[in-house]
């Protein structure tokens, strides 16, 4: 099933002394930012930081995805450490998808 976030064995639990590096891509433009986060930050906090780094504002209907397309909306309250331990989106490459009209 493709809508399950990627779960792969992780390598090192503390792989960067400055905190884990996350990468977030705005799917409207393919602009990406990389920054250090903290293991104790929640995914929601990382998402909020990413908007600032991308010079974007959140809008209703925005969705956070793992690279590959799996939704992370059910994990926003988990910390990066918890996501690491649960092996969710282990490469920490996230995407912001904005809702469209259609159908």
């Amino acid at each position: 099933m493709t809508n399950e976030p990627e779960k792969k064995p992780d390598s090192k639990p503390d792989d960067n002394p400055g905190g884990p590096i996350v990468e977030v891509t705005n799917l409207n433009t393919n602009d990406s930012v990389k920054f250090h986060a903290k293991w104790e930050e929640t995914l929601q906090q990382v998402w909020t930081t990413a908007y600032t780094e991308l010079k974007e504002s959140p809008k209703p209907g925005d969705e956070l995805l793992c690279e590959g397309g799996a939704s992370l909306m059910g994990y926003l309250n988990l910390t990066l450490a918890q996501l690491r331990d649960q092996k969710v989106c282990q490469n920490r490459k996230y995407q912001i998808r904005r809702a469209t009209g259609g159908a």
């Binding site: 099933m1 493709t2 809508n3 799917l27 409207n28 433009t29 393919n30 009209g101 259609g102 159908a103």
Partner: protein, 173 residues
Amino acid sequence: MAQAGTAPVLATPSDAIAAFERDLPKALKGRTLEEAGWRRLDGITLLVPLQGQQANGTVDDYLLRLGFACYPDWPPSAIFVNTQTLSYDPAKDKCWLPHLDGCNEIAIHQNYNNQGQLVCCSLTLEFYAVKHGVQPEHVWNPQMHNFSATINQINWALKSQFYKGRQDVLPLR
């Protein structure tokens, strides 16, 4: 600038090509056209292979043809084409269309109101050409979108739970 209920306006060819070439590196993300598997048919036409992935793991190959005649004030034209002819005939090419079921953001119509194929999404030119209704916040904005948005949204749908395979079976070869 794109707006609902208004017919798209052609860009000058030089402006369209310049905007396309400006945004192409972002779409490619460091890859060459060859590395991405994309093909530029002419100055304003791009072929992008995409894959649909069904819940059972089955993978289906598609070819999306993007046209930039009205770009960047309007989104690119986006239609799925027959991989042999590189065009789309509503009478014969239904098998080259993905089937999306139950998504309220995007759908793919074989022949929308007898106007041809419609990738019904506010990030495609055809959506505005048929004067489809749209919420203001969803209207294409060249300050906030480039054609990566079109590819990314269609690609997302093809990997989502809404993807249900081809609209028709492929003919035997």
